[in-house]
């Protein structure tokens, strides 16, 4: 019974903090979970600037898709920072974010990352390229692409890398079938995948470079390899229609591309998108970097990729999952 009261109290506190936020110079930031530390630092730096003096923030972090659905269902948000452009497009479709949200000089992209291989200390299984993942006996950990939006980057990196190596569409899809046979566990999120890998399961973890750097910072005994061909992960932010009416929110949005803010992203393992901030950082740019919109590799943006690969019933990955137990 007491547990119920404590839970109710928690709900009341959450509701209270959400309700008390939308007054005066306050900004509601709704973001996906991994850049929490980076945003914390950027916000305190912003509050020290003239533009941000006296601005208060209410911050909400969670899984990207959940956050998008919460905002669509009415959660207050002035600024949304999500892991995939389609999550922001979902809000644009509901009129909560202007349709032209990507129309700034950085296309609405605030930070980059790449898909990397995290391996055990010393790389005992000599994993360097995509071909090594499907060698006999190798166990690959990657989240379930249906529960984790982020896991979709991994799948598309694998597909695109095969295409870049000269394979046809059919061969690249066949590679995905082969790859998933090497996946013994499909955790529900990127962070869960990392903790399962840290527990000792698997030989290689597919994840984002910033997660790999996070693991190193937390002292997990791993190292990471950036394959020669990999996918550039681009994470977007957008002002909502309510945010566009708030000078403080607009100022903060602009501040995200300042050198200070971009350096804060870099310190947390995200690749800055502003050249001045990239100075002095050591992000390796592989020769075969491609994006989700590299048309010559058969990648035509998230809308088409989601439809073809991740449709819950008809998608290629749904068929792959089905073939596993078939």
């Amino acid at each position: 019974m007491r547990a119920i009261w404590i839970a109710l109290l928690g709900v009341a506190l959450l509701a209270g903090s959400a309700a008390g936020a939308s007054q005066g110079g306050s900004v509601d930031l709704v973001a996906y979970s991994t850049p929490k530390d980076a945003y914390g630092k950027i916000i305190s730096a912003f509050q020290k600037t003239q533009a941000g003096d006296g601005t208060s923030f209410s911050q909400s972090y969670g899984a990207s898709g959940d956050q998008a659905r919460a905002v669509a269902a009415g959660q207050n948000a002035d600024l949304v920072a999500l892991s995939l452009a389609p999550d922001i497009d979902l809000l644009a479709g509901k009129g909560l974010v202007p349709k032209n949200w990507a129309a700034n000089s950085h296309r609405g992209i605030v930070s980059d990352s790449v898909v990397v291989f995290v391996v055990r200390d010393g790389n005992p299984k000599h994993i360097k390229g995509w071909g090594d993942l499907v060698k006999p006996g190798i166990q690959v950990i990657t989240p379930n692409p249906f529960t984790s939006g982020g896991a979709r980057w991994n799948v598309m990196a694998a597909y695109g890398a095969e295409r870049r190596a000269g394979k046809t569409d059919k061969q690249a899809v066949a590679y995905l079938y082969k790859l998933f046979k090497h996946v013994p566990v499909q955790p529900d999120s990127a962070r869960a995948a990392l903790s399962i890998f840290a527990q000792g399961k698997g030989d290689v973890l597919l994840t984002y470079e910033n997660e790999a750097i996070y693991a190193e910072q937390k002292g997990v005994h791993t190292e990471f390899k950036t394959p020669k061909a990999t996918l550039l992960i681009e994470t977007p932010v957008a002002l909502t229609t309510s945010g566009l009416k708030k000078p403080a929110a607009k100022a903060f949005y602009k501040y995200l591309w300042s050198t200070t803010a971009q350096k804060a992203f870099a310190a947390q393992g995200y690749r800055p998108v502003v050249r001045a901030a990239a100075k002095g950082t050591h992000f390796y740019s592989p020769p075969g970097l491609f994006t989700i919109a590299t048309a010559k590799l058969g990648l035509n943006g998230w809308t088409k990729v989601n439809q073809r690969f991740f449709h819950p019933q008809k998608g290629i990955v749904a068929k792959i999952e089905r073939s596993l137990g078939g």
Binding site: D66, N144, T147, P184, I196, Q199, P312, G325
Partner: protein
Amino acid sequence: MAADAAVVGAPSRSRAARPGGLALGLATGYLSVVVLLPLAALVWASRGQGPAEFWQQATAPEAVAALKLTLGLAAACAFVNAVAGTAIAWVLVRDRFRGKGLVDAVIDLPFALPTIVAGLTLLALYGPGGPFGLDVAFTRIGTLFALLFVTLPFVVRAVQPVLLELDVEMEQAAASLGAGSFEVFRRIVFPNLLPAILSGVALAFARAVGEFGAVVLISGNIPFKTEVSSVYIFGQLQSGNTSGAAAVSVVLLVISLGVLLGIGGVRRWRTRYDRV
């Protein structure tokens, strides 16, 4: 005075036996708002683009595989709890030992622990890097362990009060008539406990069917192998397939309701003489 009380007491007791209109209204009103309304909304959301689509969503091969696994695990979990939970309740009521109060308090801890923490802890314990070298994580056995952990209190707490109330003289009488201890248990104790065990089993089963947090980490989520319904439903939601998620949820609820009604029916039949 005593006679007066008895005279006055009799009709008032019979009146109290039937809830008044206000109490009944409050109870059903509360039940509607808190439980029935959300369930109705779920059914509404599951209609999708009509019954054909509902059927297609609910009978997708992954959904059916997940459903079978979930019900199988929940049944196994309910059975183990019926035996182990009764034994624990027995020890707590009938035996005297040091630290009994502490053990009694520990029983409820699985309820207090956020289930995702339970999942994380069990993973550390039963995973590849675990201290016992017992690697059952990402298997059905590991998933069952997680379910047993979160459902432990149900049978124990259902059986304990009944066992406390149970008249020891009945057992002594049976023993004096020559019944062995097993026969006393089988013919006196067990029939008295059975309704309570069944209540606990029903709760444990229902909880196991719906559990998410404790199993999402340890189950491994491989479709057809270790993916349970709650995780499958979560995946459909995350992929934007709301009506599919709702359809599978409705099937899960209907089957659970059937099982709960069945257990309730057995329980009512067992206690039919208590309600004359």
